[in-house]
């Protein structure tokens, strides 16, 4: 809201403006009330429908048992630490690999054609392959080669996640690079920058600024996909829940894991929203439409 008093040096606000502000305030209050009421009605309707369904008691016992919930928290939480570790390492790997891939794909010189081809094939293959298949191939295929000895599951998980997400993120970065106006490249080259320096100092920083919301989106997707490394046997949050489920034959631990993953993504989602809003404010000259 850009309603501020002019205040000071005799710049008083007119009656008309005061009335307008009052009206707008009441209008805001009214809309707020309506949305709250509709939200409550909606929530109540959902509750009534579910709680009156035939199997509700069974579902509640199997998925939302309070005792099992509390019991699962420490174990699943400990598993989540492994997910976070894998996530941190993968983010760094993805950042480096994806940038290199994107730069390789945007080169123009004929000499670098094989590199460009390789990058293109890589991104297309790894964007096409389902995550779970990649995990199986990497997780059971690489150890079977017998070159590296015994590799911990979390390392293999990192490799698989990085392989897939590098391909996705590379495409996002490439879009960003191509969205920087060509005149920027020319201006840098005109100052005597080499191609590589132009890329690193002028183009990439502008590209990254444009694609931060898209990158954050991929990051959140990655956060939950690290849960798939459980198929390789690493005891992460999902695996811990699975173990507890096998012991008690109760599905609540999965719900706990789900809640943990949602909580983990929350700060970043808030961050993305705030950043997107700031970007919008800056670009729209804060107009009223």
């Amino acid at each position: 809201m850009n309603i501020r008093d002019f205040g000071g040096n005799g710049d008083d606000v007119s009656q008309i403006e005061l009335k307008r502000r009052g009206f707008r305030r009441r209008q805001t209050g009214k809309s707020l009330l309506i949305s709250c009421v509709s939200l409550l009605v909606f929530a109540a309707a959902i509750y009534v429908i579910f709680s009156h369904s035939e199997g509700w008691a069974r579902v509640q016992a199997a998925y939302f048992s309070p005792e099992r919930f509390v019991e699962a928290i420490p174990k699943v939480g400990k598993g989540l630490l492994l997910n976070i570790k894998i996530l941190c390492v993968s983010v760094v790997c993805v950042g480096i690999t994806a940038t290199l891939l994107a730069v390789a794909r945007t080169t123009r010189s004929a000499v670098l054609f094989p590199l460009r081809l390789l990058a293109t094939v890589y991104t297309n293959v790894f964007r096409g392959i389902p995550m779970i298949i990649c995990l199986y191939l990497v997780g059971f295929g690489i150890p079977a080669l017998g070159i590296f000895g015994r590799i911990p599951a979390e390392v293999l998980g990192c490799v698989a996640v990085s392989l897939i997400y590098s391909a996705y993120v590379a495409e996002v970065i490439r879009a960003g690079i191509e969205a920087v106006h060509p005149s920027q490249r020319m201006a840098a080259r005109a100052l005597g920058f080499s191609h590589a320096r132009t890329m690193r100092i002028i183009i990439l920083p502008q590209a990254v600024r444009k694609i931060i919301p898209a990158l954050m989106n991929d990051f959140v997707a990655m956060q939950k996909d690290v849960g798939l490394v459980s198929v390789l046997g690493g005891v992460d949050a999902v695996r811990s829940a699975q173990i507890l489920n096998a012991v008690n034959f109760n599905y609540t631990p999965y719900v706990v894991a789900g809640v943990f993953f949602i909580l983990m993504s929350f700060p970043f989602i808030l961050l993305i929203d705030r950043y997107a809003k700031r970007l919008q404010n800056r670009e729209q000259l804060q107009g009223a439409v």
């Binding site: 309603i3 002019f6 606000v13 008309i16 403006e17 009206f23 209008q27 009223a288």
Partner: protein, 246 residues
């Protein structure tokens, strides 16, 4: 005289701590062409954006043909549809053809049938001499042509008031003439125009009244001869004398 087309009462607008408009009172009557001059940052563009409700005022009233359009109860889109505006950077829709650009508001906002909207569009394009480019896209036109299309897009739905915000500032000098000629034609056809510009010769030739804006206030207004020959406010004097040196 009849009711003014536009009446501004004590308009104030600030961006953060910066007071851009510090109380503007001003009217424009039917068929009148008013030219606003003033240094960059004097509030010309902001005033135009405020009249078109693109920025919300912090105080005052905007009365369009007797209706207070700054009242929060009025439909802002409806009020905007009665005012035409042309920006410095054309802002044609790049994904629409030239004909679509000039007929789209009549079709979508004013609900005219497609044939009728396109007939009006073609008529306007013929008037500005680029009927044969009706199916081209904006980026295939010269800057002057684009700006003329933007002007006829703004008048296609017969707005009560036409706002022109430094419409020649982004044009090459040799293209300025064709755009200003069109504005002069519109004046001859009876349009009501409020225009911010740095083209002093044009202001002198075409304006019925010149308004000099200085630090968010109207420092001086009057017939062009009076303002240009005999400026009274010290700020006007300084502004005009600087222009003469160039």
């Amino acid at each position: 005289m009849s009711d003014p087309v536009l009446r501004l009462v004590n308009i104030k607008k600030r961006f953060g701590a910066h007071k851009v408009l510090r109380g503007i009172d001003f009217s424009i009557h039917e068929h009148e062409v008013v030219v606003m001059i003033g240094a960059s940052g004097s509030g010309k563009s902001t005033l135009i954006r405020v009249i078109h409700l693109l920025e919300r005022i912090d105080d005052g009233q905007i009365v369009l043909a007797g209706e207070d359009i700054s009242d929060p109860r009025v439909n802002e889109d409806g009020a905007r549809a009665k005012i035409g505006i042309v920006f410095q950077n054309f802002n044609l829709f790049p994904h629409k053809s030239v004909l679509e650009n000039v007929s789209i508001a009549n079709r979508i906002v004013h609900k005219l049938p497609k044939e009728e909207a396109e007939r009006i569009g073609m008529e306007l394009l013929t008037r500005i001499g680029i009927a044969e480019k009706a199916n081209r896209y904006p980026d295939q036109l010269s800057g002057g042509q684009q700006q003329r299309v933007a002007i006829v897009r703004a008048i296609a739905s017969n707005p009560q008031l036409l706002l022109l915000d430094e419409i020649t500032s982004a044009l090459d000098p040799q293209l300025v003439g064709e755009v200003l000629d069109l504005v002069q034609e519109l004046k001859a056809a009876g349009s009501t125009i409020l225009m911010a510009t740095h083209e002093m010769d044009f202001a002198r030739r075409v304006a019925d009244r010149v308004v000099f804006l200085h630090e968010g206030r109207i420092a001086e207004e009057g017939p062009p001869e009076r303002i240009f020959e005999d400026p009274r406010h010290p700020a006007t004097k300084e502004f005009l004398s600087r222009l003469r040196i160039k």
